[in-house]
């Protein structure tokens, strides 16, 4: 079991969809939301996802396929 702190940003057209609920039904991960701002045109969440490493990585890939922007809590650390 491992945990990963993530920031999720929803595009406007995805705000009405129950994405996190579907995620927890599809993958064996737990979600603990720590901070969020969801309005009619913006939605972001900071959360901790726990589970097996591969399950977390698959869950992140699935979220990205749904159009959700997923980044580590640290933001972009890579620089060219």
């Amino acid at each position: 079991m491992t945990g990963m702190k993530l920031k999720l940003i929803y595009p406007e057209e995805k705000i009405k969809e129950p994405i996190l609920s579907k995620l927890c039904k599809t993958f064996d991960v737990d979600i603990n939301i720590r901070k969020a701002n969801v309005q009619e045109n913006i939605g972001w969440l900071e959360l901790e996802m726990t589970g097996d490493e591969s399950e977390i990585e698959n869950a992140i890939k699935w979220l990205q396929q749904q159009g959700v922007e997923v980044s580590p809590l640290e933001g972009q650390v890579f620089t060219e």
């Binding site: 990963m4 720590r34 980044s71 580590p72 809590l73 650390v77």
Partner: protein, 414 residues
């Protein structure tokens, strides 16, 4: 550890022990070093600083390190009075803080990495790491080599290896990740949390970022223990910018600056092709909407900047402003600084100069105000951006006649 009280969450204020931690476990806010300023005030003085080493370590009383061991020659770079550039921009007291000649790898990153790896040694880490192909990778690789530490550099695998020759020479392990830079970010964060490594801008971030305060300390000392009226600096993650502000404020707090010393107005520079902090500032938001960078200013192309909201706050608090520069303006900025002051900077510096010029033209600076522009990196590392933008050589046959016709005739008195 008398000078440091704890690590403190910037959001909720919860305190943590001084350990390699960077995120508040409760609200997920970033942690920052909390100093005991009363204690520091008793120990620090202008005299003591002046007798200190000619490096950033002369300010060790305000840095989160007890015993500096890495990057002992970093910092204390020149503050150049830019007479020629000042004349062009109508500024009588323009200065360039020139970190293009920082030791050992010619960018401001040598400051933050010197602090991060000195702290890493104190914590007992034997391995340094970062995710970068540029200035950060250069600095971590060089300073880890000199510190006798193992070093891992993470990069996306689709980048050409020649981009990292300046790091490879120091013999780090380069991990080419099969994915884009978002994948490298996520993997780096996982590695930092799983392995006992000093990932300089992840788990050591609270200590690493403090190194940028020395950019303010040095300028204040070099101006004769005064603050400038205005500062222009690049915005990437927002960390350097907010720490320059913190540095000036700390110097006042511990009595190095006079009690009535005015804090500078802060002006931030972003590239148009990656300007999430500028947009948040202009739209009055306190959150950042991430962007996919598309700019030649790659060293400051951070589409999802961790300290963006704090940079917005500093700009508002200091009565400053932000501006953006196009690719063409960035190139012109590089050329302008080179032509007037003989300083060759990279695209981040070009962005800063382009934005300085815009603000000067808008008249936001009084002509006699002291304005400092921060040049954070060296142009010799990214010369390819100038291809096609510079004058070509004049080709002649080896005869005096051709020299007179083609060189003298076309250049003298021109």
């Amino acid at each position: 550890m008398a000078k440091i009280k704890a690590l403190k969450c910037k959001e909720c204020g919860r305190e943590y022990p001084v350990e390699p931690l960077h995120v508040c476990e409760f609200c997920f806010g970033p942690l920052e070093v909390e100093y005991d300023y009363d204690e520091i005030k008793k120990n620090i003085s202008r005299d003591k600083i002046k007798k200190g080493p000619v490096s950033l370590w002369r300010y060790v009383d305000l840095l989160p390190v007890e015993n500096p061991t890495v990057g002992l020659n970093a910092g204390f770079t020149p503050l150049v009075k830019a007479e020629n550039l000042g004349k062009e921009l109508g500024l009588n007291n323009l200065y360039i803080k020139d970190d293009s000649v920082n030791h050992p790898t010619l960018s401001f990153k040598d400051r933050v990495v010197a602090v991060a790896l000195s702290k890493a040694k104190e914590f007992g880490f034997d391995t340094a790491a970062c995710a970068s192909t540029g200035n950060l990778a250069n600095s971590v690789s060089a300073l880890a080599a000199s510190a006798g530490m193992n070093c891992y550099v993470f990069i996306p695998s689709n980048l050409e290896t020649n981009k990292i020759i300046g790091s490879l020479v120091f013999n780090p392990v380069v991990v080419a990740v099969d994915g884009n830079y978002d994948d490298v970010n996520r993997l780096s964060s996982e590695v930092a949390n799983e392995f006992g490594w000093a990932f300089v801008n992840i788990n050591l971030r609270p200590f690493y970022s403090e190194g940028s305060k020395t950019l303010a300390f040095e300028v204040a000392e070099q101006l004769g223990w005064k603050t400038p009226d205005a500062v222009v600096a690049p915005l990437a993650s927002g960390s350097l910018y907010t720490k320059i502000w913190k540095g000036f404020n700390e110097f006042k707090k511990v009595g190095i600056l006079e009690e009535n010393e005015k804090m500078p107005r802060m002006y931030g520079a972003q590239a148009l092709g990656c300007s999430p902090i500028y947009k948040a500032f202009k739209e009055g938001r306190d959150w950042i909407t991430p962007e996919k960078p598309d700019t030649i200013a790659k060293s400051i192309a951070i589409g999802n900047p961790a300290d963006g909201p704090y940079a917005v706050k500093v700009t508002r608090e200091s009565n400053g402003d932000m501006e953006v520069a196009t690719n063409e303006e960035i190139i012109e900025g590089i050329k302008l600084l080179a032509r007037t002051e003989g300083i060759f900077t990279e695209t981040a510096g070009g962005t800063t100069i382009a934005v300085l010029k815009k603000f000067a033209e808008k008249g936001v600076f009084d002509k006699d105000e002291v304005v400092v522009a921060y040049i954070t990196g060296n142009g010799y590392k990214t010369m390819e951006v100038l291809e096609g933008h510079l004058n070509k050589p004049i080709h002649i046959k080896p005869t005096l006649a051709e020299f007179k016709e083609k060189v003298v005739g076309q250049t003298i008195n021109k």
